[in-house]
């Protein structure tokens, strides 16, 4: 990846530097916060309204984002380490697992929710065979129901039938 470092890196790579992306996102968030804060009463320095402090923060964020993006674009950034690379498989599996848990817990109860979370999230490593994942899911579902439901007495029905 780093064999074309001689001379100025191509524009596309400079635009894809994490600092440029991060700075641009910060600028956008800052502007959005300023816009939203502008819809609340600003007040004066002596009697600040609800919009005053967020407006200051939004402006600060927008300025800092611009600085970060500009310096990263002109000066470049050191190449990242291997662990900086995105792992889409893990990202999707873990988030989908959490989503399944949030969706199933109120509708189906604790045991289905935990089992679904574990089955889906376990796919993120790409190293667990289906049967092992199933066993892990079953074990964790029963265990968490025993610990949190029976042991600590939390309001967590094992199975729920709410529409």
């Amino acid at each position: 990846m780093s064999d074309e470092d001689a001379g100025t890196p191509p524009l596309r790579r400079r635009l894809a530097a994490p600092g440029v992306i991060g700075g641009a996102l910060s600028l956008l968030v800052g502007l959005w916060v300023m816009g939203e804060a502008g819809s609340y009463a600003l007040g004066t320095a002596r009697r600040m309204g609800p919009g005053y402090f967020p407006m200051l923060l939004g402006a600060l964020m927008a300025i800092l984002g611009t600085v970060l993006a500009a310096t990263a674009f002109w000066r470049g950034e050191p190449p990242g380490e291997a662990e900086d690379r995105a792992d889409p498989r893990a990202l999707i599996a873990v988030l989908a697992g959490l989503g399944a848990f949030a969706y199933l817990l109120p509708r189906a109860g604790l045991i289905p929710a935990v089992a679904a979370l574990v089955m889906i999230a376990a796919q993120g490593s790409g190293q667990l065979r289906p049967l092992a994942a199933l066993a892990l899911a079953g074990a964790l579902a029963v265990l968490s129901w025993a610990i949190f439901g029976l042991g600590l007495g939390l309001q967590l029905p094992a199975f729920a039938a709410r529409p």
Partner: protein, 493 residues
């Protein structure tokens, strides 16, 4: 003397069976998560916050604190044996600890880091017991302007004194402050950034946010990591350092502990920076700096003493001023506030059993950690072999149930999901989540003090410079900013 009466009260609190149990639980869990790479003290404390809703505040704090300083001990184990830092603070220990292990001196390295951790902690606890009450008395005169300036200093330190880029740190603080404004404005009742979502009217849940940013993003980043290769358990005989080791290690521990204590006391700066700075100092003052990176014993003694000293002294600003020493303590501050205890100069006087009980539990906890980390080191080494692919689904289950149990709300799990995604994105773009969390927790207070000070001064911002203590804090913050600007510009040339 007063101190002895106070300590007697503290030990009376700390040796009750419940307190001892939670102290032991805390330091054991701390060591465990410290040893295991891919889960830090931050995530562990976030995971256990819901549990602390069900126990009294003193025991809750003793347990959470135990996790925090216990993790500082455990972090070096995987650094030395596998070159995988168990915690960010222990990253610097890999530099000389792993070469020592390759030279067959892993046992000595593990022994010395434990002793250094203990030495640093002892200094930290002594400073906490001696210095915190004095600081609290001095802070009695603080008004809105002083608190505002102090919080600005803490946030600046958190943003600028990190390993990463200072601009990124400042962006994270700003983002945290913005997230802190979500919810109902206390003075006018206006909804801010709520967008019609009723669950957001009380603001974003601290636990859900912290679990997403720290726990879930760590899990995603580590999911594909294979199990750690098996490490051999050193024999007891191999752990004893030679006389030459001691001669090099003891002065380094002393310097490290001093540096760590300084950084810990400063609000906003954590133990990571203390361990990196103390390593740099050792390397600079060494007669032969080329030994560093090849198994120099000073290179593991000083940082370990530093991060443990910082972990203990970080409680000084947290408990006496209400301004957290670092992001983990910000989370603990949040836990205290949940229990209805507002940390500040009045805390030691109003809650003597809590404060001195905590101090005494630190003494007991550190003694427990000596036992956990020396005779029982083999246990932790075998736990290192548990493959992460089996561990992380269990971590996620714990996170989900913990978050849900706070207010029986599935919405909070969606929040965890969103912040997990944001946290992972931040990680890829090299943003540190710690300053964000500090900003989030201090944000509402900062705004309140700003408004109050400006009302007092009739809208004149000079109030912050006319009051000497506030001006001193802001001056320090400005110095920090200038310093990091200077370093950033010099790096260019």
């Amino acid at each position: 003397m007063d101190l002895f009466a106070n300590l007697a009260l503290g030990f009376h609190t700390a040796v009750s069976p419940a307190a001892l149990f939670f102290c032991f639980l805390g330091v054991t869990l701390g060591t465990l998560i410290g040893v295991l790479p891919g889960i830090g003290a931050m995530a562990a404390i976030a995971m256990l916050l819901p549990v602390t809703y069900h126990i009294p505040p003193t025991e809750a704090l003793i347990m959470l604190a135990g996790i925090y300083y216990g993790a500082q001990y455990g972090g070096s184990t995987a650094s030395i044996l596998l070159r995988l830092p168990g915690t960010p603070q222990a990253a610097v220990v890999t530099l000389d600890g792993y070469p020592m292990a390759q030279q067959g001196r892993a046992g000595v390295a593990l022994f010395i880091t434990t002793i250094a951790s203990f030495a640093g902690s002892v200094l930290g606890v002594l400073l906490l017991a001696g210095f915190a009450p004095l600081l609290a008395r001095a802070a009695m005169s603080f008004q809105a302007a002083e608190y505002f300036a102090l919080m600005v200093l803490g946030l600046m330190a958190a943003a600028l004194l990190t390993q990463g880029s200072p601009v990124r740190g400042l962006i994270m603080v700003a983002a945290g402050l913005i997230l802190g404004t979500v919810g109902t404005d206390l003075q006018t009742g206006t909804f801010r950034f709520v967008y019609g979502i009723p669950e957001l009217a009380d603001g974003i849940g601290l636990v859900a946010m912290a679990m997403g940013l720290f726990g879930v993003s760590e899990v995603i980043a580590n999911a594909a990591r294979g199990g750690a290769p098996a490490a051999r358990r050193p024999r007891w005989r191999e752990m004893i350092p030679t006389r030459a080791d001691w001669r090099a290690a003891i002065p380094a521990m002393t310097r490290g502990a001093g540096i760590g204590a300084g950084f810990g006391t400063l609000p906003g700066t954590g133990s990571s920076i203390a361990s990196f700075v103390s390593y740099a100092v050792e390397k600079r003052i060494a007669r032969d700096p080329s030994r560093f990176g090849k198994g120099a014993i000073e290179g593991i003694s000083a940082p370990e003493a530093a991060n443990n000293a910082a972990a203990q002294t970080a409680f000084i600003p947290t408990l006496t001023l209400g301004v957290p020493g670092d992001a983990v303590l910000a989370l603990m501050l949040g836990a205290l506030i949940i229990h209805g205890i507002i940390p500040g100069p009045g805390l030691i006087a109003q809650q003597p059993a809590l404060f001195w009980g905590l101090v005494a539990s630190f003494v007991l906890g550190n003694l427990m950690l000596l036992v956990l980390n020396l005779p029982l080191i083999g246990l932790w080494i075998s736990i290192l072999r548990i493959p992460y692919r089996l561990l992380y689904p269990a971590i996620l289950v714990f996170i989900c149930i913990g978050v849900f149990s706070i207010r029986n709300s599935a919405f909070d799990i969606w929040l965890v999901l969103i912040f997990g995604a944001i946290g992972y994105g931040m990680r890829l773009l090299r943003f540190e989540p710690a300053p964000l969390l500090l900003g989030f927790i201090l944000g509402p207070l900062l705004e309140q003090y700003l408004r109050r000070a400006m009302t007092v001064s009739r809208g004149d911002p000079m109030i912050f410079l006319e009051r000497p203590i506030s001006a001193a804090f802001l001056g320090l913050a400005a110095l920090l900013l200038l310093h990091s600007l200077y370093t950033a510009l010099r790096r260019r040339g």
